[in-house]
Amino acid sequence: MSDPDDTFGAEYVNVVDTGDGSTLGWFTAITQSPPKAQIEVTSLDVIGPETVVIGERNAGLVMWGAVVPGRAAWRYKTETPMYVSVGAGYRMLLVGQDGTSMKALDAASGRIVKAARLPDEAIGRPWAATDGFYVPVEGGILSVGSDLSVSGRIIVKGLGGNVRAVSGPGFVFLMDDDEIIMISV
């Protein structure tokens, strides 16, 4: 995925053979038929070895395969989510533009399986947990189950602003506007 004009969204998605750089497919039109000349890709999440879910400004979310790329497996028309995260078992978490509305999407079928609301506004992209997601909020992290129930809160005093997370096995680094915090989970 590339963003040559440094705009909000990327403009093309290519599938490239990493062995020799040859192009396997070019994802150009996910919005309408006939295809638009320009697309605005807002997110791209790899959900399997040969499948990705692509967010496009007008189309919503589209699941697209690299091996048989001629057809979209499914499309889910939605406003551009503020955050899209991939969890275990083909489950995706979509957080709406208001920062509190969330939907659980089954990435295998493209169906919304649950909708709920966060008690606090998400201030960063959630990341996957064993059975659900962690959602950074002001002053802490919410543990959200795959059924979207909020099962717990990790208090992280001072956490605020724009939070990004880099996670690994048993730990996560949280980075807000002025701190880096390592948390064992």
């Binding site: 995925m1 590339s2 963003d3 040559p4 440094d6 990327a10 093309y12 290519n14 490239v16 990493t18 020799d20 750089g21 040859s22 192009t23 497919g25 070019w26 994802f27 150009t28 039109a29 996910i30 919005t31 309408q32 038929s33 006939p34 295809p35 589209v62 697209w64 790329p69 001629g70 057809r71 979209a72 008690p119 606090d120 992290i141 919410l142 543990s143 909020v150 099962s151 717990g152 809160r153 990790i154 208090i155 992280v156 990004r164 880099v166 996670s167 690994g168 096995p169 730990f171 680094f173 980075m175 506007d177 002025d178 701190e179 880096i180 915090i181 390592m182 948390i183 064992s184 989970v185």
Partner: protein, 150 residues
């Protein structure tokens, strides 16, 4: 928010077992962690490596603001800034740089150690020694175009 409502939310979200290992004051523009709990992060032009205890192991200054960091084989670090990809060794020693011709917008290290940079030019792959092994220019290539609207 009413105290009762806040209490209800707190009750619905009990504390989860977790521990803050360490915290430092720093602005991270980009970062990359490894399984050994080391963290490489960039703040402007400065790339810093933190150990598992949060203490600085080394730092290196790039010629321009660093946009992307990735960890490579043998604890190496790839830093992308402007149109350039640089590889550092495990101790922050400069190893090599390569050009992606135009500004780099994405960076990925593959399982085989190749570093792939996506730039305004296209995608370029470099082996662990910095030799370009392939490039893909999507704007000029000729190949099937798939219309997923159908």
């Amino acid at each position: 928010m009413a105290a009762a409502a806040l209490a209800a939310m707190t009750a619905a979200a009990p504390p989860v077992s977790a521990a803050i290992g360490w915290r430092i004051s720093a602005r991270a523009d980009c970062a990359s962690a490894a399984a050994d709990k080391t963290l490489a992060f960039a703040s402007g032009r400065i790339v810093t490596m933190l150990g598992p205890d949060g203490k600085k192991l080394w730092s290196w200054q790039a010629p321009a603001d660093v946009s992307f960091l990735e960890r490579g084989p043998e604890a190496s670090v790839y830093a992308a800034y402007s149109d350039t990809l640089t590889k550092l060794d495990a101790k922050g020693k400069y190893l090599w740089s390569a050009t992606a011709y135009e500004r780099i917008y994405s960076l990925l290290v593959l399982a085989d150690g190749k570093a792939v940079a996506g730039s305004g030019y296209g995608a370029l792959a470099f082996d662990t020694g910095g030799k370009k092994v392939w490039e893909s220019d999507p704007q000029n290539a000729v190949y099937p175009i798939y219309d997923c609207a159908t």
